[in-house]
């Protein structure tokens, strides 16, 4: 079990570095996750993350990248530039969503 250290306490990550419990997500968790992954989190990242989370809360499924693009009003290239690589997978991870099913 990997622990993600925070200012006050820590949260558990699964073996692939995803947050084990979505309810434990906070901006601080997202920042620490991003840092672990070599990314400095900005308000623009958080905007995308919050949209993904709202969708996940309602549908219990992570949105596919087409939807993320539409909901955020950003093109794929803009999302890619913002998250630097693998925007769909990375944004979902930073949003505290569990690792997806399938070979990911």
């Amino acid at each position: 079990m990997t622990m993600l250290e925070l200012k006050d306490g820590s949260v558990e990550l699964d073996e692939a570095g995803y947050l084990n419990d979505f309810s434990q997500w906070s901006e601080e968790v997202a920042r620490a996750l991003a840092e672990r992954d070599g990314l400095k989190l900005t308000e623009e990242h958080l905007k995308v993350i919050r949209i993904i989370q709202a969708y996940y809360r309602e549908h219990k499924v992570p949105p596919i990248l087409t939807l993320v693009s539409k909901m955020c009003g950003m093109s794929f290239k803009e999302l890619h530039a913002l998250f630097q690589k693998q925007p769909g997978k990375r944004a979902a991870k930073l949003a505290g969503l569990p690792k997806g099913t399938g070979c990911t």
């Binding site: 990248l65 939807l67 794929f76 099913t101 399938g102 070979c103 990911t104």
Partner: protein
């Protein structure tokens, strides 16, 4: 002797459902009794040295009636089902069949990790990531519009009856990597092929084979066959997914499915079209040093079972689109697992995976390659994980990406 040792009287072993199932499956040809305990299997097993288990022990335990311990063991889900053991076995024992059958005897709620959830979604939603049809089609169209910036006349129909090729896609692409779809579009367009994207049953993987859910394995295959036949396509172009391809070919045999179409791996199609001179290529677009990882399922396991494999054709294509192609060693039938085979990518044994994956890391390092081409979405993510975990600079890449990058379009 340890206090746990006990005597097993062979003539007192009464019920052997696992052994009987494996024997029956092979028409009593692959007799586990043939095993000579020579240990060639464990000499090539990725788990040897990590686990106290190995293929030889597995066979011994089944023969000694210790089936439940086998079925309950972590080993059967840590195994990558790469079947190097079956390749080297001098007596032709098929360990892979034994693993799959043992997994099938595990209670479904005791399957570790996410492979059974993935299989359940495939069955109930038609794809591994429960992508609704509407969003799937929207993604297809979105990517089409993007690619038309480069290739204006590129177009394709969805659910076109009578098209030659029914395309399968791994759900990971629309979910996370939709840009990769553009590569596939470009290849089929450049070949001037008659092709269609299906709106349903397009999933190009089959995790039910890995979780050991034989019923869902058969169900999902039959649903896909039904859809291809409804559209009257001549071929199902199987995507760059080794296990999905193998699960399809082996599953058709296992479940007695006789489709009215032919299954063709996309890599074999690229090579065929290249031989026919359908592509105009500029290999200088791929100047990096590129090596090849042979997927076990579409390589060795296809060879062992007599299905068309991708070993020659992936090299045929790579040599023509990458001027700096270098072989990895060992390769072809003797290639070593990516570290994520057999469902291990999501079965929850990452420690084991990174342990035996280090062998793959060393093999890749020795090539000095910048890019590791692998025509398999599962191997792609496993190699990507290895690069991150071991902080290596090389990157995984699909064959379709290298081919599409080298394609020259007259009007683009």
């Amino acid at each position: 002797m340890s206090s746990e040792s006990h005597v097993i009287k062979l003539d007192e072993i009464e019920k052997t459902p696992l052994r009987d199932a494996v024997m029956e499956e092979s028409n009593w040809q692959a007799d586990l009794n043939y095993c000579m305990s020579c240990a060639k299997c464990l000499s090539v097993c990725p788990l040897h040295g990590y686990s106290e288990w190995d293929p030889r022990r597995l066979v011994r335990m089944v023969l000694l009636g210790m089936e439940q311990q086998v079925i309950d063991s972590d080993f059967i889900y840590q195994c990558t089902v790469c079947e190097r053991c079956s390749l080297v076995c001098p007596m032709g024992v098929k360990i892979g069949n034994l693993i799959t059958r043992a997994r099938s005897m595990r209670s479904r709620d005791q399957v570790p990790g996410g492979s059974q959830d993935t299989a359940d979604l495939h069955r109930t939603k038609g794809n591994n990531m429960q992508i609704p049809t509407e969003e799937w089609i929207e993604t297809l169209d979105w990517m089409k519009e993007e690619v038309q910036d480069d290739v204006p006349d590129l177009d394709f129909p969805i659910d076109q009856e009578g098209a030659d090729y029914f395309i399968t896609i791994n759900s990971k692409l629309p979910q996370y990597y939709p840009m990769e779809l553009q590569c596939i579009y470009k290849v089929f367009h450049a070949a001037n092929a008659s092709w269609t994207m299906p709106s349903i049953w397009w999933e190009g993987t089959n995790y039910a084979m890995f979780s050991g859910d034989l019923d869902t394995w058969e169900y999902t295959l039959r649903q896909q066959v039904k859809r291809v036949e409804e559209l009257g396509c001549k071929y199902m172009a199987y995507t760059e997914c080794g296990h999905g391809y193998y699960a399809t070919m082996a599953g058709y045999e296992k479940f007695g499915i006789k489709p009215k179409f032919e299954v063709v791996h996309k890599v074999n199609l690229y090579a065929q079209w290249m031989r026919e001179g359908r592509f105009k290529l500029d290999p200088s677009c791929n100047p990096q040093r590129v090596t090849l990882h042979d997927p076990c399922n579409a390589g060795r396991k296809a060879v062992l079972d007599g299905f068309p494999d991708v070993l020659d054709d992936s090299r045929y294509v790579l040599e023509r689109v990458c001027p700096n192609f270098v072989e990895m060693w060992p390769n072809r039938e003797y290639g070593y697992c990516c570290s994520g085979g057999g469902g291990t990518l999501i079965s929850g044994f990452a420690k084991a995976r990174f342990h035996y994956g280090k062998v793959k890391v060393d093999q890749i390092d020795a090539t000095g390659a910048d890019l590791v081409c692998t025509p398999c979405v599962n191997c792609f993510d496993a190699i990507d994980d290895l690069a991150k975990h071991y902080e290596r600079p090389w990157k995984a890449i699909h064959l379709w990406a290298l081919l599409a990058n080298a394609l020259v379009f007259d009007d683009g």
